[in-house]
Symmetry: C2
Subunit: 446 residues, 2 copies
Amino acid sequence: MGQGLVTDLYELTMAASYLLRGMTEPATFSLFVRRLPPERGFLVAAGLDDALRRLEELSFDDSDLEYLSDHGFDANALEAFRELRFDGDVWAIPEGHVVFPNEPLLEITAPLPVAQLVETVVLNQITYQTALTTKATRCVLAAAGRAALVDFSLRRTHGIEAGMSAARAAAVAGFSGTSNVEAARRFGIEPVGTMAHSYIETFSDERDAFMAFARDFPDRTTFLVDTYDTERGIQTVLDVADEMHLHGPLGIRLDSGDLLALSIRARNMLDQAGRPEVTIVASGGLDELDVERLLDAGAPIDVFGVGTRVGVSADAPALDSAYKLVEYDGRPVMKLSPGKESRPGPKQVYRSSLAQPDLLATRSEATPAGSKPLLSQVMRGGERTAPPPSLASVHERLSQDLAALTDQAKRLHSPEPTPVEISPALEAVTSAVRADIRAASAPDSG
Amino acid sequence: MGQGLVTDLYELTMAASYLLRGMTEPATFSLFVRRLPPERGFLVAAGLDDALRRLEELSFDDSDLEYLSDHGFDANALEAFRELRFDGDVWAIPEGHVVFPNEPLLEITAPLPVAQLVETVVLNQITYQTALTTKATRCVLAAAGRAALVDFSLRRTHGIEAGMSAARAAAVAGFSGTSNVEAARRFGIEPVGTMAHSYIETFSDERDAFMAFARDFPDRTTFLVDTYDTERGIQTVLDVADEMHLHGPLGIRLDSGDLLALSIRARNMLDQAGRPEVTIVASGGLDELDVERLLDAGAPIDVFGVGTRVGVSADAPALDSAYKLVEYDGRPVMKLSPGKESRPGPKQVYRSSLAQPDLLATRSEATPAGSKPLLSQVMRGGERTAPPPSLASVHERLSQDLAALTDQAKRLHSPEPTPVEISPALEAVTSAVRADIRAASAPDSG
């Protein structure tokens, strides 16, 4: 199947109009987030690899063209769509970098119809993956090295594709594993898992269930202890561990109730039984605020399984992203819609350190002393300039950025993003284009 | 590729343990939502068709088995997985029905390892599609026939798969079209679209852009008027329409600013120019509360394009769904975890009318007089009992349910679900099983 219909109708309509009129000069579109959701002081750039893959896959097959033919597209447009591939240039901020509002995550330069057509899929992939990766990163900030995190989100993400992205987002952020086996395979993440309540319930009692599990998976013995009564469950684990002489890595999982009180009680019981090495895993509708609250209160939890609320970025499931035309045929353009004004021309972001404001600049101006450009060319003429980065390298990039990010931007409650400055050259071109548009559309001009 | 690894590791671990132990007697799992999110008075059952398709596709190929072999699964388990297919029975509430908490949306009976393995994908598909369809239905309730709705969500859904589901959810709810062309083709929905700001900006002025578009797509002329200045944009549309003698269906789209004031102003301008037939489309970050507020205030908006906030169900992006073992080998089971207690045994929901409480009952008891069972068998021995229903029939089912639903459950603000009653037989088995578990796990029982 071609992927050409995976877009909004208006992208196809506009592309057809451009093709009909020979408007195929290069256009540059810029993808950025206009403003942060509440409780976000930064974003983590993500989704680029999948966005580029979608660009590589753009094509129209016979059945796509037949559908369009039945829906008002003429033969000329169909012929042009048949030949159409993504053959443009892409500049982007590599995945894993911390970014702020109005900084372009990606800029595409391609013949106008092509650059327009890809808007929908590129926005889709970058928007949701950036949202999920940012949310997972907040969990890592909440844990602050005091506990490990694992991804349990697949069962309630918005589809299987989103589940794969959520697992990858978690790994980029620094989670140590995922329950999602396909994602573990695909991205080289450690697959992790314990047992479900149903496992306990299929046996006539909890003790039999624990013994069976320990016998079948002696190296994977994290026991779920809250099916019937948590304290009794922990005692049963201790009894079974003694009886079976279990000495591998053991753990218990708490999935309900007062996790602070239960984890303290569990730690005491385990330590008093001479089992200080047994780890405590907590799960059950947790998010980064729960992780922070529990650890701040001294909960002796070693591993947090976080799922749904992180896998859907529950408090901010979408970002106010935009994909805006900034230049066509060498002419910088912008729109003036209230609250949605854009800045013209291809851009670059210069960063000296995350403690200082980034500089949003035109792409052509010189790099300020002591700064580095954040966007680099990732695709040239439709071909990637380099293979996709490893997940480890994306994680490393994020870790370095987090280490350098200000506490104001990083804190979980009421964070404040580092401000972004606009270069004088970009201010100048913005003012000039705005004046040109106002003059052109003034009543007395027409 | 097999789909067997698209699951949580613990499903595979438990399935392997069951297979090793010959624990392959029939198990029944029940999928339900424990409680409604805030501001929901009902849910709309959805996702069943995709869930069943996932069941049909369950299999493990060589590469899946090789991965599992490298991750602690032994040869016996791998051989069993190689042969494994979904061969169970499924009962479900058909898509489009209004449902309430604790009512099983779906129940699966299959050999224990199989019924366990499919938990993750079935929960995934039903949870998010039910959330999205419920959200879209709230938009239809907000519009209340006063305006049409179209889906513009693809660019910010959680992936392309979610975008397809969001478009389908919208059509089930009663939206009249979607911008998502692939979804339009796949589900037989009307594809809809206008133009983007970028289209206007590629021309030297707005007038040239409108004229070009009208010439290229004379039957698709909804003009986006807010790129530079909305009132001037509307005047330009009127000028172009006169100059080009446009008499097909015309529309304007407002995508920013004060939509109430602008739509009133636009309506006046259009009417005074003798163009009462020109429709007004509004878009831009809208949700069902905006739709209700604007229409209640008298905004003369004919069509709302709703996107992101509906396509991610922004205020309730996930549901508190569960997939719980309720019977194994003829023995009813339940868990007692605080706040997560489940009810044992296969179930049925009997409904007399949506103005009366539904009856949650055991599956084997007789249908009460005047009631109908909501769950029907949709799969037998791994085969569907009927082809998937048409989207039109799912929409019709929902429409009938909405017509019968109480105003308390339907209203957008602080709705109250119709309560669900428990049959005496289900209460009895619940009490009996609870007592059995408590007796079995009491300290003095050994």
